[in-house]
C-alpha cells in the first residue's frame, strides 16, 4: 500500500510528467489558455492514458516479449494507441454524447500527446506489473492534469495583466513553466 502511495506521489509531484519528464508539452502549451479546456483535456488524458497503459501492458507482455520482438514496441504501441483513441472517440460520440461534448473534442489531440506513448514505454522500462502500470499511468495523468490546470489558471490571470508584448504568449508561458519546474524540484528525493 505504501509502495502504491509512493508511486502515486512520485508520478504526480516528484517526477511530474510535464515539469521533469518533458512529456506532453504540446497540449500543455496549446490547451492551457482556458481553465475549462484544461480541465476537459486533463480528464480525457486521464481516461485514455489509463486505458492505454493497461492495453500496452497486455501487448508487451503477452505478444511482444513471448515472440521476442521488443524492438517493435514503438510501432505496435503507437498503432494501438492511435486506434484506441479513434475508437474511443467514435464510440463515445454515439453512446455518450454528453461525455463526448466534455471530453471527446480533446481526443484527437491525445494521439499526438507524447505523454501517452512516453508513459507506456516508461512503464515497460520500469518493469511495472499490471496493477502498477495502471496506477502509474493514472497518477501520471493526474500529474499532467495538475500541471495543466495550474498553468491554465496562471495564464487566465496573466491575460489580465500587462505582460510586455515581446514576452506575451509562448515566451512567458515557457518562463512560467520554468519557474514551476523549479518549484517542483523541491519534491526531489521524496521518492527513491
Amino acid at each position: 500500500m505504501a509502495e502504491m502511495a509512493l508511486l502515486i506521489v512520485g508520478a504526480i509531484f516528484v517526477n511530474n510528467v510535464v515539469f521533469t519528464k518533458f512529456l506532453g508539452i504540446c497540449p500543455y502549451m496549446g490547451v492551457s489558455k482556458k481553465l475549462d479546456t484544461a480541465a476537459g483535456m486533463s480528464m480525457a488524458v486521464a481516461f485514455v492514458l489509463t486505458l492505454a497503459g493497461a492495453i500496452t501492458y497486455i501487448v508487451q507482455h503477452y505478444v511482444l516479449v513471448p515472440v521476442h520482438i521488443e524492438y517493435m514496441q514503438t510501432i505496435v504501441f503507437i498503432l494501438v494507441i492511435a486506434s484506441l483513441v479513434q475508437l474511443v472517440e467514435i464510440v463515445m460520440k454515439k453512446t455518450a454524447p454528453a461525455l463526448y461534448k466534455a471530453l471527446g473534442i480533446y481526443l484527437p489531440l491525445i494521439t499526438t500527446n507524447c505523454a501517452i506513448l512516453g508513459i507506456a514505454i516508461l512503464s515497460v522500462q520500469n518493469d511495472f506489473d499490471f496493477l502498477q502500470t495502471v496506477v502509474f499511468s493514472f497518477a501520471s495523468a493526474l500529474g499532467f492534469g495538475l500541471a495543466l490546470v495550474l498553468f491554465a489558471g496562471i495564464r487566465e490571470a496573466l491575460d489580465l495583466r500587462q505582460v510586455p508584448k515581446a514576452f506575451a504568449g509562448a515566451p512567458i508561458a515557457m518562463i512560467i513553466a520554468g519557474i514551476l519546474a523549479m518549484a517542483f524540484m523541491g519534491f526531489a528525493g521524496m521518492v527513491k
Binding site: 514503438t74 498503432l79 486506434s83 514505454i121 515557457m174
Partner: protein
Amino acid sequence: MNYADKFKKTFFTENPVTGLLLGLCPTLAVTSSAENGLGMGLATTFVLLMSNLVISLLRNIIPNRVRIPAYIVIIATFVTVVDLGLKATLYDLHKTLGLFIPLIVVNCIILGRAEAFASKNTVWHSIVDGIANGLGFTFALFILGAIREILGSGAILGFRFWPEEYRTILLFVLAPGAFITLGFMLVGMNKISKMLEGK
C-alpha cells in the same frame, strides 16, 4: 519553389520550434548540450525526410479512413530504424537521447508535415520540405542546446569557455533551465524573424 526563401522561412519565421511551437517535448528534453540537440535534430530530420518521401509516394494509395494510422505506422517504422541504427553505431548518444527516440513518433512536426505537405505534394517537393523542416528543427535544438550548455556547464562541444573550477549556472542544464532558456530564445527568434521580414 524558391529554395533560399524556403530555408530562410523554416529556419526563422516559420521555424517548427520557435515559430510554430511544434515538437516541444524533445526540444526541451534533450537540449542539455549542443551535441544532444544536434543528434536529436538529425535523427528527426532523417525520420521526417523518409516519412515525407514514403507518404508522398503512397499519397494516392492510402484510403482516407485509415490515413492517420497508416502515416503513424510509416513514421514509427522509420523511428525504430533510427533507434536501432543509433544503438548500433552511436551507442553513447543513444543512451542520452534515450526515451526520446521512440517519441519522435509523436513529434507533431512529423505528422503535421505528413498531413499538411507530403500527402498533397510530389515526392521531390516533399523531400525538400522534409529536409528544410528537419534542419530548421535541428537548428533550433542546436542553438538551444548550445546556450544551455555554455551557461550550465561552461563548455560547448568539448570546448571550455572557462576553467572547470569556475562555477556555472547549473540550473540551465536542468529541467527549469530548458523552459526558461526556450522562453528567452523565442523572444530572440521573434526579433530576428521580424528583422528578416522587415528587410
